[in-house]
Symmetry: C2
Subunit: 407 residues, 2 copies
C-alpha cells in the first residue's frame, strides 16, 4: 500500500525546510522552519495538560480557526510554558515576523517550542533566527534533516520518516519528524511531531485521520509518565500531489489514513526507543482484553511502571512486576488466567501460564531481554480487544539527564 523512502518533512512536493543555530542554546541548532508556498489544510492534536504552553494556545486558535497555513516555526531550548501573557505575546510576535517575510497572515503561521518550562523565550534571537532561515529554506532531504536535528533537546538521534503511496493514479508523499525524549507521556499527542503531505484532502478528514492515528500511536508512548505542557502533533497537507481531493471516507481516504498511521507509528516507536537514557525499546501488547479501553489501560500501566522499566534495564525477567502493574491499573481481570510471553529478535518464551510461572529458563529469558527491542505480550483471556504501547527502560542516565537538565 505504501513504500518507505528516505527523507522527512521535505519529501512531499512543495515543502521546504531548514534548521539553524540561532543562539538560544550554546553551540547547537535550536530553530527550525517548514514552509509551503501552496496553502495547506492543517489538523492537529494538543496536550490535555491544564497547564498549556503559549505556543499550544496559539496553534489551537490557528487549527480550530479553520483557515489554511503556510509555515511552522519551532525553537528548542525554551518551552515558553508558564510564561503568562508575555509568553503568549511572543508567539504572536514570532508569527508576525514570519508572516511579514512571507507576505502571509500571522494566523497562517504555526509556532512550537520545547525545552525548559518557566523561562521567557529570547524573542530577539527568535526573530533573528527567522530572518536567517527564510533565505536558507530548501526542498532537499538535507534541509529536512537539519530541521529534524534542530528540534532535538535530550534526543540522541533525529527522528524522521517518509512514505510514498498512490491515490487515484497520483504519487502522494507523506513525511514527518518528531522529537522526544523526556516529559513524554502524551495525552492527545507527542511532545512535538510535524507531518507534511502533498495529498489533497479536506481539513475535516485530515483531522479525522490524524486524531484516529494519534490515539494508537503517540498516545501509546510513555517515557516517564509526565504529560508535557507542550505536546503538539500537526499535519499539513498542501495538495500538490494533484490527486482528486479526498472529501469523503472512501478507499482513497483509507489508503491515505493507513499510510499516515504508519508514519505516526514509526515516529512514536522511535521516540520511545530514544527515551531519555534508554537502552531498549520496550513494547507491550495486551491481548484478549474485554474492551479496547481495558487493553489500553493495562498496556500503559505496564509501560509506565518504574519497577518494570528498571527490570528491563537489568535484563531481568521479573514478571511479578508486570502482573502487579496490571493489577493496580484499575482494570478488572482474573490474575489466575493470565499468560505472559517475552519476545525479541533472540526468541520467544512463555513466562507464566494461568498466572503462575511456567518454570522457564532464566538464562533464556535474560537472552531475550538483552536485545535492543523487547516485547512483552500479556493475554488476559477475557475477550478480543488488544492494544500495543511503547516505552523504554529506566536507567542511570535517565536520572542523570533529569537531575541536572537545567545546568
Amino acid at each position: 500500500m505504501w513504500k518507505e523512502i528516505s527523507g522527512g518533512v521535505t519529501a512531499p512536493k512543495g515543502f521546504e525546510a531548514i534548521g539553524v543555530a540561532a543562539g538560544i542554546k550554546a553551540g547547537k541548532k535550536d530553530m527550525a522552519m517548514i514552509y509551503s508556498a501552496a496553502p495547506c489544510q492543517v489538523a492537529g492534536t494538543f496536550t490535555t495538560n491544564v497547564v498549556k504552553a503559549a505556543p499550544v494556545k496559539w496553534d489551537q486558535s490557528v487549527v480550530y480557526g479553520g483557515g489554511t497555513v503556510h509555515a511552522v516555526v519551532v525553537n528548542s531550548g525554551v518551552a515558553n510554558a508558564c510564561t503568562g501573557a508575555e509568553g503568549l505575546g511572543y508567539c504572536a510576535e514570532t508569527a508576525r515576523q514570519a508572516a511579514e517575510l512571507f507576505g502571509i497572515a500571522p494566523e497562517q503561521v504555526l509556532v512550537a517550542s520545547t525545552g525548559v518550562i518557566g523561562r521567557q523565550i529570547p524573542i530577539d534571537k527568535i526573530k533573528q533566527g527567522i530572518a536567517l532561515m527564510k533565505p536558507m529554506l530548501a526542498h532537499t532531504e538535507a534541509a529536512g534533516t537539519l530541521a529534524a536535528e534542530a528540534i532535538m533537546t535530550t534526543d540522541t538521534v533525529k527522528k524522521e520518516v517518509a512514505v510514498e503511496l498512490e491515490i487515484g493514479g497520483k504519487l502522494v508523499t507523506i513525511g514527518g519528524m518528531c522529537k522526544g525524549s523526556g516529559m513524554i507521556h502524551p495525552n492527545m499527542c507527542t511532545m512535538l511531531s510535524f507531518v507534511m503531505t502533498d495529498a489533497a484532502i479536506s481539513k475535516e478528514l485530515l483531522q479525522k485521520a490524524m486524531s484516529d492515528s494519534v490515539r494508537d500511536t503517540y498516545n501509546m508512548v510513555s517515557v516517564d509518565g509526565d504529560t508535557s505542557t507542550n505536546d503538539t502533533a500537526l499535519v499539513l497537507a498542501n495538495g500538490e500531489a494533484g490527486n482528486a481531493r479526498i472529501e469523503e471516507e472512501n478507499a482513497d481516504y483509507y489508503t491515505f489514513a493507513k499510510a499516515l498511521n504508519y508514519v505516526n507509528t514509526y515516529l512514536a516507536k522511535h521516540m520511545a526507543a530514544d527515551g531519555e537514557g534508554a537502552t531498549a525499546l520496550f513494547e507491550v501488547k495486551v491481548v484478549g482484553a474485554k474492551s479496547k479501553e481495558d487493553a489500553v489501560t493495562l498496556s500503559k500501566s505496564i509501560i509506565t511502571s518504574n519497577l518494570t522499566k528498571a527490570a528491563i534495564f537489568g535484563h531481568d525477567a521479573n514478571w511479578g512486576r508486570i502482573l502487579c502493574a496490571m493489577g493496580y491499573s484499575g482494570v478488572q481481570f482474573d490474575p489466575e488466567q493470565v499468560d505472559l510471553y517475552f519476545e525479541s529478535a533472540a526468541g520467544r518464551l512463555k513466562i507464566i501460564e494461568d498466572g503462575v510461572s511456567t518454570g522457564y529458563s532464566e538464562e533464556e529469558a535474560t537472552k531475550i531481554l538483552s536485545e535492543k527491542e523487547v516485547t512483552a505480550i500479556a493475554d488476559v483471556k477475557m475477550g478480543d480487544a488488544s492494544a500495543t504501547a511503547w516505552g523504554c527502560d529506566l536507567t542511570y542516565d535517565y536520572v542523570k539527564i533529569n537531575a541536572d537538565y537545567r545546568s
Copy 2:
C-alpha cells in the same frame, strides 16, 4: 496529648516479639513474630491491587471474620504473590503451625510476606522459623527491634515508633513498625505496617480509627508509583492498659485516634524518606484547593512525577515540572493563580507567584533543596482544602536496586 517514647511493637503491655534468620534470605534476618497472650481486637486495611498476594487474602478473611487474634507471623524474601492455590495453602499451613504451638485457632494468626513476587515460599523453612521463634519471644525493646529489622527488604533503616498517652487515667501505649521501600504507592495502606496497642477498644472503632488514619498517612506516600500486591496495615489492641473500653466516638476515642494517627504518620514519613535509593524526603503540601480530593490528587501527582523527583535529587528548583505534574493530574485549576514555595531547614523561598517566576535566587533555592527533608507548598487559591503527600527523590541507586533486585 501523647508523648513519643523509645521502642516499637513491644512497647505496649502484653506484646512480645522477635526476629530471626530462618534461612529464606542468605545470612540475613527474614522472619518476625508478634504475640499477645491476651486476645486482641484487630483492624486492617489491604492493597486494592487486583493481584492480591496469598497472605493478603488470608488476613482479609481473619480481619473480616470478626474474631480475636493473638499472633502475627511475617517473612521477608518471598512475597507469596502470584502463587495460586499452592501459595494460599502455605498461608494456612503457616497459621496452623503457629496456632498449634500457642494452643490457639489458626484463624487467630495473621500472616504477612514481602519480597520477590511469583516464587513459592519455602514452607519448611517458615515452619522451622516459627518453631525457632516461639521460645525466643520477649517483651523487650530489643526483641521489638529485632522484629522490625527482620521485615526489611531493600530498606536501609528499621522503622519503629511508640507513644504513650492517658485515657481515663490509665496509661495507654501504641507501638508500631513498618517496612518499605520499593513498590510503594499504597492504595489503602502501606507495604507492611504493624501497630500494637494495649488500649481497650471495640473492633469497629479500632477499624474506623485505622481506616481514617491510613487515608492521610500511608495512602499519601509514594516511592515509585507501583502499588504492591502485598500492602497490609494491621493494628492489634489487647486491652491490657485497663482503660474503660472505648465503644463510642467520645473524647477517649479521639485521644486514641490522634495518637494512632501520629504513629502512622511517623511510620509513613520514614518509609518515604527510606524509599529505595532516596537521598531526601520530599514532602508536598497543596493548600487552597477546592476539595480535599483535589488536594490529594494534586499532591500525589507531584510526588510521583519522575521528572520532579529527579530534579529534587539534583537540588534543582525546576518548578516547571511541578506545575506540569499538577496540570496533568486531572484536577481543574488556574495555572496563572498558583503560588509555589520551597521550604527546608535551610529556609523558605517563594518560587512562583500567580503562575510565573518570582525571579528568586537559584543559589538560595539550591541551598534549600540540598537538605535531607525538602517541602514544596503549592497554593492554588481556589478554596480551603489541603493535603500533604510524602515521597522521595529519584536516584541512580533506585535504578541500581531495581535493575538487579532478584540477583
